[in-house]
């Protein structure tokens, strides 16, 4: 039991903290385009310093850092209220998947532009009819010469309109059991068969998109991890996403908590104080779950199903935090404000996106506790 940093880790933290202080880009601008450009610039700056792919192996342009250093980075980002990097899906999912399952050619082709933010990535897993039941997806890929021809519909593809590449899960074998007939593709978004429609959310923003795929072509060399092996590839990616994101998510909660504390400072309302404290305590619990997950991964390799706890708890916390912020505004919460209205509305999806809380509870019950399947 030791939560202190090693001298090397302390040095990394101090270097990082100083660098952020010198390079902090300030407050993120409003609006999709401006915000995207702002985050891309920030990522490029970090990449020039070698820190965009902090834990990626050095041979692929990363810094070969430990997961602890990654955690330090998230915590320092949170402490300094630094923005997110633009290519978050490429950095946390696409890149690691290519590194783990890709061919040498794929590594040479795809990894560097992820880091530099020259090529953004999005994820094409979910479909309208297959939400929690991901493996029931219907998008089909049929081999035609040296390419697959893909037709189907995807939804909830974050940043699709900024993306060059889509991590696409499609059915290549209709005869096989539903988990066994899927293949993981890297699809070029810049082709006529791919139509992107913004999917406006209840916030009024279009953070997500729908993809309408009509005979899009994907060369066979863009299959990752083997034909009909897509479920395994995707699951590894999802597990990494969950483990990696756990730290980023908890760090973002700390940022929001600090902002809310700034607004509430000095309040004497015991109801508000109690609710704030409860969120603050749970945010610590979340942070410690992330530490615990890090320790397990470092010792045991693969992240376990316990990672589901973090995603579940994070959704609870972020909803409680943003609801408290709304309630603290009193009658003025009937009006849209600059910060909290959007966050409150956005947080409603936290318990749905990336695995609903119900599915996560199923996973904990069945895979951690060994309870029988419903």
């Amino acid at each position: 039991m030791d939560l202190t940093l090693s001298p090397a880790e302390e040095e990394f933290r101090d270097t990082l903290r100083a660098w952020i202080a010198d390079n902090h880009p300030g407050k993120e601008p409003e609006g999709d385009e401006a915000s995207f450009a702002f985050r891309r610039d920030w990522q490029q700056k970090l990449n020039e310093r070698g820190w965009a792919g902090l834990t990626w192996p050095e041979e692929y342009g990363g810094a070969g850092a430990t997961q602890i250093e990654q955690a330090i980075l998230f915590e320092e980002f949170a402490r300094s209220r630094a923005p997110q990097m633009a290519n978050v899906l490429g950095l946390t999912m696409g890149g690691p998947t290519v590194i783990a399952h890709g061919t040498d050619e794929q590594k040479a082709r795809f990894l560097s532009p992820i880091l530099s933010a020259d090529e953004m990535w999005c994820q094409g897993f979910s479909e309208p009819e297959s939400g929690s039941d991901l493996a029931s997806l219907k998008t089909r890929a049929v081999l035609d010469g040296d390419a697959y021809v893909v037709t189907g519909q995807k939804v909830w593809t974050t940043f699709a309109h900024h993306s060059k590449w889509c991590m696409l899960l499609a059915r290549t074998n209709a005869e096989a059991p539903k988990h066994r007939g899927l293949t993981y593709f890297l699809m070029d978004m810049e082709q006529p068969g791919v139509e992107i429609r913004p999917l406006v959310q209840i916030t009024g923003e279009a953070e997500f998109n729908e993809l309408f795929i009509e005979e899009a072509r994907i060369p066979v060399e863009n299959v990752v991890g083997g034909v009909d092996n897509g479920w395994r590839v995707a699951i590894t990616t999802l597990m990494h996403e969950r483990a990696g994101l756990a730290f980023a998510l908890q760090a973002r909660v700390q940022v929001a908590l600090g902002e809310l504390a700034d607004e509430l400072r000095g309040t004497t309302d015991p109801l508000i104080r109690q609710r704030f404290a409860q969120v603050a305590i749970e945010a610590q619990v979340l942070r410690l779950l992330a530490f615990r997950g890090l320790t397990s991964t470092m010792k045991g390799g693969e992240p376990g199903p316990e990672g589901s706890l973090g995603k579940w708890l994070w959704a609870d916390i972020n909803q409680a935090l943003t609801t408290l912020a709304m309630d603290a505004r009193g009658p003025a919460a009937q009006l849209v404000d600059d910060t909290w209205t959007y966050r409150f509305l956005r947080a409603r999806a936290n318990s749905i996106e990336g695995g609903t809380t119900e599915i996560l509870k199923n996973i904990v019950a069945e895979r951690v506790l060994g309870l029988p399947r419903a």
Binding site: S126, P128, S130, G131, S132, D133, S136, V155, W156, L199, V200, Q201, I202, G204, L271, M326, D327, G330, P331, A332, A333, Q334, L335, V336, T341, L345, R348, A349, S351, I352, E353, T356, T357, E358, K361, A374
Partner: protein, 308 residues
């Protein structure tokens, strides 16, 4: 003893449900609220006698108010009711301005753009200010179906009388009844979706995580309707219980609508989070209405004060 609507009240309910459904199908609500379409049904509403329905009784008003919430009709009727309850001699249309923003402005005033008179609360006093003498600016409302305004209004004629305390409590009940309508509509939407939507080869409503959530929605909706009808009835028939009942109704119905909508968002999954789905309109009405005319915490404290 008959805790049910009378035949006349049922007739009012039916008329309201049908008329609002025909004039304000949800597609029309979206047009008016989201695309800035215009709404010109006040004359018809006037013919139905609804602006003066409080004269029939508070149960009658609550019955229509529930249907306003159920339909999300973007009409200024509820705001007018509030003004008329405080100012029974009101001529023309009214609205009520309560919350103090900075530098004397009143925040989140509904329907100020179409009001002839603005009833302004200042401390414990209430004044009637002609809208023409007030400064009225559009504000950015969370709930797009009920536009809000920032109002600056000084002077005016003070309204006095014994009716004021009852009027405020009647306003709470009317607002609570709207929340009941929202809760009822969203509970029905959720149940319907839970029957249709399949995952892992089964309707999601066959999973207890979903079915028990729907049962909870039903419990809170029924409970909210009962407490609102009781409070409405008490305002006309049981003055000893009426004020506590009105506070209880506003607290419980506000929470019920908010809880139902938040839970429904979870039952609907991703689709319910989209702009094109109607759920967010009900969700925003529930959240906004819960904060109008005193939030649940404030109303609960009033209830506590009657016991403790």
């Amino acid at each position: 003893m008959n805790f049910d609507l009378t035949e006349d009240q049922r007739e009012i309910q039916r008329t309201a449900r049908e008329w609002l459904a025909s004039r304000y199908p949800i597609a029309r609500v979206r047009e008016i609220a989201l695309d800035g379409g215009s709404d010109a049904t006040w004359d018809e509403i006037d013919e139905l006698g609804w602006p003066e329905i409080a004269d029939f009784g508070m149960v009658e008003l609550a019955v229509v108010a529930e249907q306003l919430g159920f339909s999300l009709a973007p009409t200024p009727l509820a705001s007018h009711w509030a003004a008329r309850l405080l100012h029974p001699e009101l001529e023309g249309r009214g609205t009520v301005a309560m919350w103090d923003g900075e530098d004397g402005a009143k925040l989140a005033v509904p329907a100020a753009d179409v009001a002839d008179t603005i009833i302004v609360q200042r401390g414990d006093q209430v004044f009637a200010v002609p809208a023409a003498e007030a400064s009225i600016e559009p504000a950015n409302a969370l709930d797009p179906t009920r536009p809000l305004f920032t109002v600056r209004a000084s002077g005016g004629e003070e309204i006095t009388g014994d009716h004021l305390a009852r009027a405020w409590h009647a306003i709470y009940v009317a607002a609570a009844a709207e929340s009941v309508g929202v809760a009822a509509r969203v509970t029905a939407m959720s149940v319907e979706y839970a029957k249709e939507r399949k995952q892992f080869g089964r309707p999601i409503g066959s999973y207890q995580a979903v079915s028990h959530a729907c049962a909870q929605m039903f419990l809170e909706t029924e409970g909210a309707r009962n407490v609102v009808l009781w409070a409405a009835w008490a305002l006309d028939n049981d003055p000893d219980a009426a004020f506590m009942a009105a506070n209880a109704a506003k607290a419980y119905a506000s929470d019920a609508a908010v809880n139902v909508c938040r839970s429904s968002m979870q039952v609907h999954g991703g689709i319910g989070f989209t702009w094109e789905h109607d759920l967010h309109l009900f969700f925003k009405r529930a959240e906004a209405n819960a904060r109008a005319f005193g939030d649940s915490t404030w109303h609960r404290e009033q209830v506590a004060a009657t016991y403790l």
